[in-house]
Amino acid sequence: MNNLELPTEKTAEFSSVDESSLVVIIFDSNPGQKLLRENPHLLTHCLDSIISFSNSHLMQKSQNKLAVMACHSRKSDFIYPGPGKPLDIRQVDGQYETFTLVEKTIKQNLAKHLAGESAMLNTESLLAGAIAMALCYISRLQRTKSPAFTLNSRILVVTGSSDSASQYMNYMNVFFTAQKQNVVIDVCALDQHLSLLQQGCDITGGLYLRLPQLQGLLQYLLWVFLPEPPIRQKLVLPPPVKVDYRAACFCHREMIDIGYVCSVCLSIFCKFSPICTTCHTVFKIPALAVKSKKKKIKL
């Protein structure tokens, strides 16, 4: 009935077709984010758009695979395919059973997920962790698929919360892993501009789009994020934005052009200081450092 659940048991079916694509949608449904705090009904709007998008993806090719995750500040869960057995679905109104299954499963699991949320709201969604989980999931599918079969994976992050520097290291780790595993990360920002996730898109070759208006979410999703990365080059999509890769110094959190980097822990400082505040290493005096630098240039 349902050939998009797990490839492990079903690999034999795919032997005739050799390529399919997997989309892992990470939906930030954290009720604490500004967008949803102000207009709680937007959650339904976003969810409907995401379900329609998921169905469109599955419709493109019968071998296409889908996973949907809900990301909160305290935990992240796979809401499709959820844990346990898939729901027992009969055909309703002539709709393709898989679509009904996707919709029912997502709504049911998301409701469960939201019910588990405590009253204390936290505005920061831990997106880096959700991406890490998605990468584990993708790497399992890659491991268990038959070698003759190619699976192109990408991750789509739909979020209205802001990104904070406190997750910087986790973000960077997941971006580099995604780059290594050829997983494209697309980001659809509903509210604020997300500079860290934008870097991730640039590193992995994905698209970053900050929605001009939320009403058109589904249309943006279908136009921009539905086509697979190889096809995107042929489409007229929003132009890539120049990403600012300058570093922020650890002492004042300001963007700097020229800075000093600790040779032991690679912390970045905007001024020379005799002791590293991160690893407490004592440095040589700058006069000597300059001298050795000159020697190197002469080479």
Partner: protein
Amino acid sequence: MDEEDPKEYRWETGYEKTWEAIKEDDDGFLEASIADIIQRAKRKRQNKKEYGTKLGMMRHLYVVLDCSESMSSQDLKPTRFMCTLKLLEGFMDEFFDQNPISQIGVIIMHNKRAEKILDLAGNARKHIKLLKSLNKTSLVGEPSLQNGLEMALRSLKLLPTHASREILIIMGSLTTCDPSDINTTIESLKTDGVRCSVIGLAAEVHICKVLADKTGGVYNIILDDSHFKDLLYQQIDPPPAALGLESSLIKMGFPHQMSVEGTEEPLTMCMCHVDSADEASKLTTGGYYCPQCYSKYCELPVECRACGLTLVSAPHLARSYHHLFPAASYQEVVYEKQSEICFGCQKQFNEVDKQIFECLNCGNYFCIDCDIFVHDTLHTCPGCATNPSTFQITQTG
């Protein structure tokens, strides 16, 4: 250095009954026990990693490659030399991926001479191009270990004191033809804090062992090509810092594109291709400008040719952070239905999973494959990263 190599010969070790490691289960099958052996082998590598040591992050590595007659031997397929080049290609890629602000140089030894074919540089593409062109090198004469080491040392000596200096020798020959006493060379390598590691393709040679022992490196002999690859890739993780390694603050530039809202960027030439013959520099827009002297480069990281400033981008530094802040290690626990599914990949645990892995920070359970994926590739525990109380904690202790 502290691990005194207890390398005994095979015939000196006790009598091992290797077949007794494999046990039949109740139904007389061997799968369970074999799966167990595979699991243990998978985990062995990670457990060896030690945390909390100061690492030499800015590595300067010379690969000294034997190009003597013995490298044309066909015990590795197609030849020793071809196999080595192929593996080195992968090595270079992985090395720069894991150590983005490090540099590699290449020296070849043939006909009793050493020849530097690539100065220390930090661009994987250049190295791989060079390796591809190397397969036409004639494999003649004997190698000279001393000449190779001296040449690498001459260049490494000039580096600033915060740089970690390393030499990796790939030796196919069992002999070396040296102009003078090699022990003095080894002594001077030791005083300059150069770590020399040797990978032997044939058999153990005493002088290589002495060299590796005295300079704090490792000496290994390959068994076959996959073992060769393992040994080579062990060199990718940064080694503990040498004793004489000083720490300092290094001035670095973080270039950004010169773009003013609404205007087109000027057409300029980049400095990286300005004097290369085969790939002439073209007039282009965009690129990275040195914040000190405004020379343009098309790739990072690079050392500015005009003013000598090291130019990097913030993600390059971030790529090295995982060596310094590794993910929390997991503890092996016996599976007693603690959790239905693996927290990372959502795999359902079943009878095959005898051992599962628990993260001590966040208390989630993972399967063996996720354990390996998290610690080898991801470097972030998915459980800790989705938990507000633990997402900033990395390695404990």
